[in-house]
């Protein structure tokens, strides 16, 4: 009976397989779900989901799959009935709604409600007939429900109903494809570390010492080696101003995380506006510029380049020619896109992190920039992929 539910989960990207199915079957056989939809929700969640990132997808799948069953869950219907009785006293109903409610007596209303519940096949928000939120139907939760399938209202008390819990989608914040917080960013960036032993040999090599001492017939022979040090060098380029303003907070978080990260040997951060035009800037007020040609001279190919920007601009901005001082120069300058290409070509590994959602990446300047840089969304998943991309070996030269 629950197998279609497992496929529903797989469709929504929750990795469940035979092992989970067997575990769930075992739990149900042992009667852990207490023969209720509630119990089933909790048991299934514990056994089928392995990460909080999948909790929201699970809730959604549960809602979609068991929506037809809510009638079967008599408890839920009972709660709806309870609320129905309570609703007449709600002060937040409009006069029209009150009038509507006055038109029915409680018995009629319940009968009509049951009928509607049978007819209703999906969720409705607004409108005047169906059960849902924010509508003028007598069976709504007028304006009180904050989100989801919350027909029960606030007066529920007691134990939480599975549909209601699922409907609230409280785990939305933990989805891995939404924008991330500082700590998650730090964890993602931590993967970007690489160590190398170089410099002065001032660390005692215990195993080496033992081996050397043994070879030396027991006479103590101390071996030292250089300590392991982080060896990742990063250049961070950030777009500021204009269309990036809505993401300023997010970008500043990424910046502070990168600054705090102790596992970079070197971190250089520069700013630009819209597109790189010959110069990048040391402060977000776009002063203290540095020529791109100078930057490329100062940093090696093994630096990792991370560009953060929405890559969203007027097409002419990509085509505008500027010289290496960042001045408009239609005869000798290079186009904005060419500057970007020079950056991409210089570094062995580079990525572009884009705060715009990937579905908006087609048919505008983002598409053009994504042909130059490997582009990832600025979400936890995207950052993880970008970091994995950065840590791979060098890219085939002249690929672009």
């Amino acid at each position: 009976m629950f197998l279609p539910f497992l496929y529903e989960l797989r469709r929504r990207g929750v990795p469940v397989g035979a092992q989970e199915a067997l575990a769930l079957a075992g739990a149900l056989k042992a009667g852990l779900h207490d023969s209720s939809l509630d119990g089933f929700y909790h048991v299934a969640r514990a056994l089928l989901v392995h990460s909080e990132a999948h909790l929201d997808a699970f809730d959604q799948a549960f809602l979609a799959h068991f929506k037809g069953m809510e009638g079967a869950g008599q408890q839920l219907t009972d709660e709806l009935m309870e609320w129905l009785k309570e609703a007449r006293q709600r002060r937040d109903l409009s006069p029209e709604e009150l009038a509507l409610l006055e038109r029915f007596n409680a018995e009629e209303l319940e009968k009509l409600f049951e009928q509607r519940l049978r007819e209703q096949t999906e969720r409705h928000d607004g409108g005047t007939k169906w059960i849902g939120t924010g509508g003028a139907s007598p069976f709504g939760h007028s304006g009180h429900a904050r989100e989801g399938f919350k027909v029960g209202g606030e007066g529920g008390g007691g134990s939480r109903m599975a549909m209601k819990v699922a409907g609230q989608r409280r785990y939305r914040g933990y989805r891995s494809d939404v924008v991330l917080d500082t700590r998650q960013m730090a964890v993602a960036l931590r993967k970007l570390r690489a160590f190398a032993r170089e410099g002065v040999a001032d660390e005692l090599d215990v195993e080496g010492s033992i081996a050397a001492t043994a070879k030396n017939a027991g006479e103590l022979e101390v071996v030292t080696r250089p300590p392991r040090r982080p060896n990742t060098r990063v250049v961070l380029l950030m777009d500021v101003g204009g269309s990036m303003d809505p993401y300023a907070h997010l970008v500043s978080r990424l910046f502070s995380v990168a600054k705090q990260a102790t596992h970079f040997k070197e971190l250089r951060t520069y700013y630009f506006h819209n597109c790189v035009y010959g110069r990048v800037f040391e402060s977000s007020h776009l002063v203290g510029g540095l020529r791109v040609t100078d930057l490329l001279g100062q940093v090696g190919r093994h630096h990792k380049l991370v560009v953060v920007g929405d890559a969203l601009m007027a097409p002419y901005e990509l085509a505008m020619r500027t010289n290496s001082d960042g001045r408009y120069d239609p005869t000798n300058g290079k186009e904005g896109l060419v500057w970007l290409m020079e950056l991409a070509r210089h570094f062995e590994r580079s990525v572009w992190l884009n705060p715009e959602p990937p579905r908006t990446w087609r048919g505008n300047t983002i598409e053009a920039v994504a042909r130059v840089f490997d582009m990832f969304p600025l979400t936890l998943e995207g950052l993880g992929e970008a970091v994995a991309h950065l840590t791979k070996g060098r890219m085939a030269r002249g690929r672009r």
Partner: protein, 278 residues
């Protein structure tokens, strides 16, 4: 799934939700490890104590550190002690078994009665650490190569594993676990938690403290959001100093107990100070 083991229903001092109880009972019945994740300060570690207390079992704890290896949990062969004893002629050097020291996992297997084993902060260790434990947790047995003896669990221990999500855990490991994510307590649960820690606290003070606390948690510019233990500490300070009324502005007393970062304190002073002046 042979016998129906005792059900977990929480204890007097540990308040648990329905989902959590269900997850614990799944782990008990299916005899799989229970993996608990959640924000710091949501009571992950305390859960194991509560499970042990409610089932009346002994609790063994294995605190995982960055240097911990899987082998440490099983057993350690104390070569240095044996060498030392042979040099000075103490102890029974002939019998290698005297120098095999069982780790927490080994002890849990060897125990005559069923125990609760807490593997705390499993993500602190190396990335490969959980994978090295897979076989032992699955079969509940391992071999001591020095003596060629098997340590087999007569009663499968109840294994509770906590993780702070510092590292991703391997999929193969996750598949074998029952998973539960402890939510941050909502205001109602938090009120009960506070009253457990500070019985007889002035009603209005606790109301105000909770209100300020959740306002701060919803303040998105914070780098580190305050958690349960910080709230409990803060209320203790407020109680001790006899504060009776609170308002979220720049003069909030003992804010340092809630916010531990300088930027956070400044951000709060800036945002809420301005509002109160306006």
């Amino acid at each position: 799934m042979t016998s129906s083991p005792a059900r977990f229903r929480g204890t007097d001092t540990y308040l648990s939700s329905e989902g959590l109880q269900s997850a614990v009972n799944c782990a008990l019945t299916l005899q799989r490890p229970l993996l608990v994740r959640g924000e710091p300060g949501t009571g992950k570690t305390l859960l194991a104590e509560a499970v042990a207390e409610s089932l009346g079992l002994r609790l063994l704890t294995w605190h995982v550190k960055s240097t911990t290896r899987a082998q440490d949990g099983l057993y350690v062969y104390d070569t240095v002690q044996r060498l030392y004893d042979s040099r000075f002629g103490e102890g029974d050097v002939r019998d290698i078994r005297h120098y095999i020291r069982l780790g927490p996992l080994g002890e849990a297997f060897a125990s005559k009665e069923r125990v609760v084993l807490l593997i705390d902060e499993v993500d602190k260790a190396d990335v490969e650490f959980p994978n090295d434990l897979l076989h032992e947790l699955d079969r509940m047995r391992f071999r001591v190569t020095e003596t060629n003896e098997d340590v087999v669990a007569t009663h499968r221990p109840v294994v509770v594993i906590t993780s702070n999500n510092e590292k991703e855990l391997p999929d193969a490991f996750l598949r074998r676990c029952v998973f539960h994510f402890i939510d941050f307590p909502d205001q109602e649960l938090m009120r009960r938690i506070v009253s457990v820690h500070h019985p007889g606290l002035d009603e209005s003070l606790s109301e105000q403290a909770l209100k300020v606390f959740y306002e701060l948690r919803n303040f998105t510019r914070l780098r580190k959001r305050p958690s349960t233990s910080e709230l409990v500490d803060w209320i203790a300070v407020l109680k001790a100093s006899g504060v009776t009324s609170l308002k979220l502005d720049e003069n909030l007393p003992y804010l340092g107990a809630l916010l531990k970062r300088e930027q956070d304190l400044m951000a709060v002073a800036e945002a809420f100070g301005r509002r109160s002046r306006a």
